[in-house]
């Protein structure tokens, strides 16, 4: 029953997508607007199919319907309800179902949002592209990645249960979902990018109109990645949070492109420049999500994390990746002439110049991560040797890039458009620069040593102060205009500054944890105390425990008197999986693992301790970044509705203020308001 319902759902989605594509093609080719208006209805069939399939799968999992092979492999009678629900995305076929569900949701939102302009060929093309992608994923489910395959013969009495690591922590309910909301979300701006290229209407504000989709997708992806790091830290037991694992890199690559895009699109909005960059970044972001999906599902790369491979899924995804890149490259090649921007960068020392360099830095970062990830495959192909490319390589290449990005985060917000004079920069950066020096001084006085961490702290402080400066100025400007002071925290530019603050906090936490972390292992008897990094660690003994889905040993370790319970869990068929316990505070984390528990004699155990300062700053920074992104999506009240066709190509001979733009609702020069007291800073001709 579940299988049939599920397969009907998949078929419904697939048929809707294909019909939608057909109708839209007929409408575009035959210039029939009424057909174009009918196209969006396919999105509802798509969503209905996805919902039906999802409901069927969840029902099967919750009721332990082992006639489905997928349920038999990923669920057991002993599996708790939460992990039954999350079992939908625990393995390959189910994860495709989740992808299809999220994609259907986005396509439905897109169809509804643009329903009034459905007869516009550009909207039709965008919807067409989105439906083609949806058809692909539903096609995968109808064929090679069918989650509703039934077991021939008798259904087994009990299933295998989910992978041990996937029933250990509640994050399984959130991390994949957020990741998919992010990764899949890039399909929509990609569809519009392709549509703009195909129709040749590149001067209109379509990319700007869909900026909010990219922003939401980016925010979800950021949260998903940070959650993944947190999960790795809380569960995997090695005390770290990022290992440059291929699957981690697969999520990072689109994120890098999207971050670059979110900055670069401002240049297009303001000055009509960097069009090729923006289109390329969107195409790259989407194609990298497909490449990432391929890498994690095809099994060509070994990873903590990769799904078991399956025969035809890998080649299909690789084929889609190739097709997307070919399409994108071909379109850019074809439309090259029309991509000419009506203007150019006046001076390298300007916000446009900074964003251009920013694009290059993010592209370099992505190139490094991509090469490091696939290099072992190249060596295998050419030399038939198995090598590993790990953290030492990635760190050595990305840390300098990170420094450069911090630098641009510091100067970017204060750079005006068009051209900056040295006097202007000197005055705007004075306080942030001194803030940086003061932070370095404080660190040096406090005994912090090391050129790299000190420079990182200093640069992060400058970037943070620069962002704070913008927020303070916006707050003052808001008050001067009679608006609430809180107006200073919403809108694109202010939300962006909050995001920068979040990133700075993450950078500081990252630097502290990796530069000043220490680890040690102690063989302790019950009651024995040892002193480590200023903390007293006492082993309090261990006891066995038994649960329906696992058994193991749980220990008690006191850190400065407070009890913590690291454990070892034995799931059937797996080596003992360590569950760490962490004493977290804003200042530092003491991370405990237990192993080698001897049940004889004095009950000695091996206690692993990892001391890392400021790990919590990573999570706090991540939350602030996400909040900032949400605030950035809020439009200010005086925001003009941007209708495509009115891209402002050359409106800014107007002198610039603090460089913020007009999404915050604060009247600015660009909006033509004539309230000089609203200027954050009095402006003369730029020097």
């Amino acid at each position: 029953m579940n299988a049939i319902a599920g397969q009907i759902g998949v078929a419904l989605g697939l048929v809707s997508a294909i019909c939608g594509v057909g109708v839209l093609i007929a409408g575009i080719v035959g210039h029939r607007p009424q057909w174009l208006r009918a196209g969006p209805r396919a999105a509802w069939g798509l969503l209905a199919g996805a919902l039906l399939a999802t409901a069927a799968m969840e029902h099967a999992l919750i009721t332990h319907d082992f006639s489905l092979a997928y349920v038999a492999d990923n669920n057991a009678r002993a599996t708790p309800l939460l992990y039954s629900i999350t079992g939908m995305w625990a393995a390959l076929q189910g994860s495709i179902l989740l992808w299809a569900l999220v994609l259907s949701g986005y396509v439905a939102v897109m169809a509804r949002r643009f329903r009034n302009r459905a007869s516009d060929p550009l909207v039709a093309w965008a919807l067409l592209v989105a439906l083609v992608v949806a058809a692909f994923f539903f096609g995968l489910m109808a064929g090679p990645a069918n989650p509703f395959v039934t077991i021939s013969g008798h259904a087994p009495a009990d299933g295998l249960g989910p992978n041990a690591l996937l029933q250990d922590n509640v994050l399984i309910a959130f991390h994949p979902v957020f990741l998919y909301l992010g990764l899949v979300g890039f399909t929509v701006p990609f569809a519009f990018a392709v549509a703009a290229l195909v129709t040749g209407r590149l001067g209109e504000g379509w990319l700007i109109e869909t900026r909010r989709y990219t922003l939401f997708a980016w925010a979800f992806l950021t949260v998903g990645i940070v959650m993944g790091a947190w999960w790795s830290y809380q569960v995997l037991g090695w005390g770290g949070f990022w290992a440059w694992d291929p699957v981690e890199n697969a999520a990072l690559l689109p994120w890098l492109c999207a971050t670059a895009y979110l900055h670069s699109v401002m240049v297009q909005e303001r000055r009509g420049l960097l069009r090729v960059w923006n289109l390329s970044l969107l195409i790259a972001a989407f194609s990298l999500t497909i490449l990432g999906t391929f890498l994690t599902r095809s099994g060509v790369l070994v990873s903590v994390h990769a799904f078991a491979d399956s025969s035809a899924i890998g080649p299909s995804l690789l084929g889609l990746f190739g097709a997307v890149v070919a399409c994108g490259v071909g379109l850019i090649f074809w439309r090259g002439e029309q991509l000419r921007s009506p203007g150019s960068i006046d001076s390298p020392v300007s916000r446009e110049g900074a964003f251009l360099v920013n694009n290059l830095l993010f592209a370099a970062f992505a190139v490094v991560v991509l090469i490091g990830t696939v290099f072992p495959l190249f060596v295998q192909a050419l030399d038939n040797q198995q090598i590993t490319v790990g953290t030492p390589y990635f760190d050595s290449m990305t840390v300098p890039l990170g420094f450069a990005l911090l630098f641009f985060m510091a100067i970017g917000p204060v750079l005006p458009w068009r051209k900056a004079g040295s006097g202007l920069l000197r005055s705007r950066l004075a306080l942030p620069a001194w803030a940086g020096v003061l932070v370095v001084a404080a660190c040096v006085i406090a005994g912090v040593r090391g050129f790299t961490p000190l420079s990182a702290f200093g640069l992060a402080a400058v970037a943070g102060a620069s962002a704070l400066r913008q927020l303070v100025l916006a707050s003052l400007a808001a008050r001067r205009s009679g608006l609430s002071r809180w107006r200073a925290f919403i809108g694109r530019s202010n939300g962006g500054m909050i995001v920068h603050l979040g990133v700075v906090i993450v950078a500081v936490g990252l630097t502290a944890a990796t530069s000043f972390g220490h680890r040690a292992t102690f063989e302790l008897n019950v009651g024995q105390t040892v002193s480590y990094e200023g903390h007293r660690i006492t082993y309090g003994g261990a006891s066995d425990f038994s649960q329906p889905n696992r058994s193991g040993v749980i220990g008690t370790v006191y850190v400065d008197g407070a009890p913590f319970h690291p454990a070892i869990s034995n799931y059937p068929g797996y080596e003992g999986i360590g569950s760490p316990a962490v004493d977290s505070s804003v200042r530092s984390d003491v991370y405990l693992t237990i192993s080698g528990v001897s049940t004889t004699g004095k009950g000695q155990a091996s206690i692993g301790v990892v001391y890392q300062p400021m790990v919590m700053w990573l999570w706090i920074g991540g939350v602030i970044t996400a909040v900032g992104a949400l605030l950035a999506a809020v439009p200010g009240p005086s925001r003009r509705r941007r209708v495509p066709g009115h891209e402002r190509a050359s409106e800014d001979d107007q002198p610039d203020e603090s460089g913020g733009d007009d999404d915050s609702g604060v009247p600015t020069s660009a909006a033509g308001a004539k309230a000089p007291e609203a200027m954050a800073e009095p402006v003369g001709a730029p020097t």
């Binding site: 090695w238 290059l360 090598i387 202007l424 004075a430 090391g450 050129f451 680890r519 003369g684 020097t687």
Partner: protein, 152 residues
């Protein structure tokens, strides 16, 4: 191109005006350099400890996918850490230790490809790409330096 008179400085607090001056910036740069110089001087770890730490970070944990033996608490990882410490104490140089690891686990036993030739492209390709992009960008922006905005 300075603005006349008031210009950007009008209405700014005195502090900012002082701090914005060229002298203040020179002082800032000097202070930063001095601080970083002080901060970079720290008692060097003994060569043996430093070498062990470096080797531990580049040798892959045998039971893991991406972790080094420095990061992993797996039994095989800990055993290997002891062995590396023994080898360092026995006077083996880094290259000999790396070779011993490769002789046991194959080239995949190190987290950085230690070979030459093909492995060098891992660094060369991104560096070449970044340099090319940097040169291209530099020349593009240099050409734009003097010219005013071109309005079509």
């Amino acid at each position: 191109m300075r603005s006349g008179g008031a210009g950007i400085m009008a209405g700014r607090p005195e502090v900012i005006k002082v701090l914005s001056s060229r002298i203040a910036w020179v002082a800032l740069a000097a202070t930063a350099v001095v601080l970083l110089a002080i901060g970079s001087v720290h008692p060097p770890a003994s060569t043996a400890a430093a070498r062990t730490s470096y080797l531990d970070s580049i040798i892959k944990c045998p039971a893991c996918e991406d972790l080094s033996i420095a990061q992993s608490e797996a039994p095989s990882s800990m055993t290997l850490r002891h062995e590396v410490a023994d080898w360092v104490a026995a006077g083996w140089n880094n290259e000999r230790i790396e070779q011993a690891v490769v002789a046991r686990y194959g080239p995949g036993g190190l987290l950085i490809p230690a070979g030459s030739g093909l492995d060098a492209t891992l660094y060369l390709v991104p560096l070449a790409a970044i340099s090319a992009a940097g040169v291209g960008l530099g020349s593009y922006l240099w050409r734009r330096r003097g010219s005013p905005a071109v309005v079509p």
